[in-house]
């Protein structure tokens, strides 16, 4: 293997320093999008190049890395990114949320509450929460500068007028420390409450858009809403068919062509741990469903 030709965790030290500076700035101004000189990575834009660069800048040889995509450790892209760091950094990896020091994620926050000292790295496709209201970066940066978020509230209000509720199910916008409106990446809004007051450091990397932003531990994060239409975190109204959890976010799986569905935890580590503890669901092999 020729991997010795690359520096620890692939990026050269100068690049890591540049990213760490951006990370420090991002942590100092929670929710603010810091431009950084995003590099071309050996995986495509859209596959998590921002998250990978942030993870590379955070990793030390003693770290234990967990990578999830859609909550699962075994989705192909999670496997591929985990392998990338095994290969280029030689760090230990784990599937257990509690054992990980750095967790790179796409689209989910683990069910298991995180602890101080852990770092959660999000892969971000479009970091700008105002992008689909105003396509121009030159405009949206001005809107953030001036705290000009009226357009966002109008959009949410129009949702309510049209649909009776805010019709945003994922990438639900939040306000950080009463200042910046931030895109939490495309996590389901079910995960939004976990953004707030989280003891872990939360870092967001958008490679193609060359932006980094962050939530320091215990940040104040509020999902945008109205007094008479308060934010609600929602999920499928079922329990996991494998571990019986009634509080975890669920994937819906189509099991035949007659409309039969089953629901399973999207967080594979959470589900496996519960099953190991003896919890059962409707379709558990033991069959003793509640």
């Amino acid at each position: 293997m020729t991997d010795q030709a690359y520096n620890f965790a692939y990026l050269d030290e100068q690049t890591k320093r540049m990213i760490r500076r951006a990370l420090l700035k991002a942590l100092a101004i929670p929710g603010y999008q810091v431009p950084f000189a995003s590099r071309e990575m050996p995986m495509p834009y859209g596959w998590g190049t921002g998250g990978v660069q942030v993870t590379a800048a955070c990793l030390t040889p003693d770290d234990r890395l967990k990578v999830i995509d859609q909550g699962a450790d075994d989705t192909t892209n999670a496997v591929s990114i985990r392998r990338f760091f095994q290969r280029t950094a030689g760090v230990a990896t784990t599937e257990r949320t509690t054992d990980a020091t750095v967790i790179q994620t796409r689209h989910r926050i683990p069910e298991q509450p995180l602890a101080e000292g852990q770092i959660l790295v999000y892969q971000v496709p479009i970091p700008e929460p105002l992008r689909f209201l105003e396509p121009r970066e030159t405009e949206t940066r001005k809107m953030h500068e001036l705290e000009e978020y009226g357009l966002m509230h109008v959009k949410l209000y129009e949702d309510i007028a049209r649909h009776g509720e805010i019709a945003t199910a994922y990438a639900y916008p939040v306000r950080v420390e009463g200042r910046y409106v931030m895109d939490p990446s495309p996590i389901p809004k079910f995960d939004n409450p976990k953004l707030a007051g989280n003891p872990a450091i939360q870092l967001f990397g958008a490679g193609r858009e060359a932006r980094i932003y962050a939530l320091p531990p215990y940040s104040d994060v509020v999902s945008l809403d109205f007094e008479d239409h308060p934010f609600t975190a929602s999920k499928a109204d079922h329990a996991c068919d494998l571990c019986g959890s009634g509080s975890s976010y669920l994937d819906e799986v189509i099991t035949d062509d007659r409309g039969t569905r089953m629901f399973v935890c999207s967080d594979t580590d959470f589900c496996a741990a519960r099953q190991a503890q003896g919890h059962c669901g409707r379709l558990s092999p033991q069959g003793d469903a509640p």
Partner: protein, 360 residues
């Protein structure tokens, strides 16, 4: 019965092995060598060098081979390799007026100093399939002529002598590096040109074409198109003088564009500029048209809302590695988001139907 999908790792390994087999094709057919691609697919190699921003025909040929002829994939391989290379320094600006031209044509003057040199062009070939190539016949040697040693000055320089074209004052500001600094808008012309030089050929072509059809029309003439080799010189601080480190092949296009003049300026032609690594006329001409369209503000023209005039639109979408990455990423799993949408749509439908029933 659903079984949690395990084995992503095995699937990936198997997919890569299969891909390698498909890349090779029928093993009964001799394998292409990198040198064959470099020599016989030279325009593909040039495109990969230009959009990959790395002048190395051998690596570009290797990338084309590895990418099974998918040029954007090959550009990606080159970009990902290039990003790991250390930067030793910056060359002096190359002197394209001193180019050893293989081809040099002007559409604005019938004859001019340095002459019209047709060079190896498809321009006047009749596009009839040459079945002799299928039979692998060797082409007869081309007739030879001694190299002309007269200078080949730029057409725009000749126009500039009479003040007929806008001046181009020398600028010693160090060139920005798009690959080392995040793009910030508004961008300087130098930065725009840098982005366009590595932009997707198809995107640049379509934008340029749109200006010709009236979306930001700039009335362009190809003042000059030249292809040839230029020397690359680097200042070595230890020596105190510049040393030639090699040659690169470039395609340069200067367009001469209409300009009505203003209250403060007499009528004068304006410029669009294109410079591309390797031989790539289509890209160089396209680039110079888009460059000119993007200069509307500086030249006091109206913004008509044409895509080619819109700096943010052009610069944000011209890179094919960014575009293809984001486009293709939607095939990655999104079932968590989709699940959230499913729940929302189901709930809203339920509520809408209840309201309908209540109304009936």
């Amino acid at each position: 019965m659903y079984v949690a999908v395990k084995g992503g790792e095995r699937a990936i390994d198997a997919a890569h092995a299969w891909l390698a087999e498909e890349r090779r094709g029928d093993p009964a057919i001799p394998e292409l060598t990198v040198a064959q691609i470099r020599e016989q697919m030279a325009l593909a190699v040039n495109r990969v060098m230009a959009e990959g921003s790395l002048y190395d025909p051998d690596l570009a040929a290797l990338a084309i081979k590895q990418a099974r002829g998918d040029l954007i994939e090959a550009v990606f391989l080159i970009r990902a390799y290039r990003t790991t290379l250390p930067r030793f320094g910056t060359s002096r600006p190359v002197d394209t007026a001193a180019m050893a031209v293989d081809r040099r044509v002007s559409a604005t003057f019938k004859d001019l100093p340095g002459g019209q040199v047709l060079g190896p062009t498809f321009d006047y070939t009749h596009r009839l399939l040459d079945f002799a190539l299928a039979a692998e016949g060797e082409a007869p040697p081309a007739p030879q002529a001694p190299a002309r040693d007269e200078p080949v000055p730029h057409v725009t320089g000749l126009l500039d002598r009479d003040g007929l074209i806008e001046g181009q004052p020398a600028d010693d500001t160090p060139a920005p590096d798009l690959t080392r600094q995040p793009l910030e808008l508004p961008a300087s012309r130098a930065l725009r040109l840098q982005a366009l030089a590595r932009a997707d050929e198809g995107f640049t072509l379509s934008l340029a074409y749109s200006t010709q059809r009236g979306y930001g029309r700039t009335h362009a003439f190809v003042g000059e198109l030249r292809i040839g080799r230029v020397a690359v010189q680097v200042d070595l601080p230890e020596l105190g003088f510049a040393v030639e480190i090699g040659e690169v092949e470039l395609t340069e296009c200067d367009t001469v564009n209409q300009f009505k003049g203003s209250r403060t300026e007499p009528p004068q032609f304006t410029r669009g500029y294109g410079l591309v690594m390797g031989q790539s006329e289509r890209k160089a001409i396209s680039m110079s048209l888009v460059d000119r369209a993007l200069r509307w503000q500086e030249l006091g023209e109206d913004f008509t809302g044409a895509p080619a005039q819109d700096e943010e639109f052009v610069l944000s979408h011209c890179d094919n590695i960014q575009s293809t990455g984001f486009l293709e990423h939607i095939k990655l799993p999104h079932y968590v988001d989709f699940q959230a949408e499913l729940e929302l749509v189901r709930r809203m439908r339920r509520e809408a139907m209840q309201m309908q029933e209540a109304a009936e």
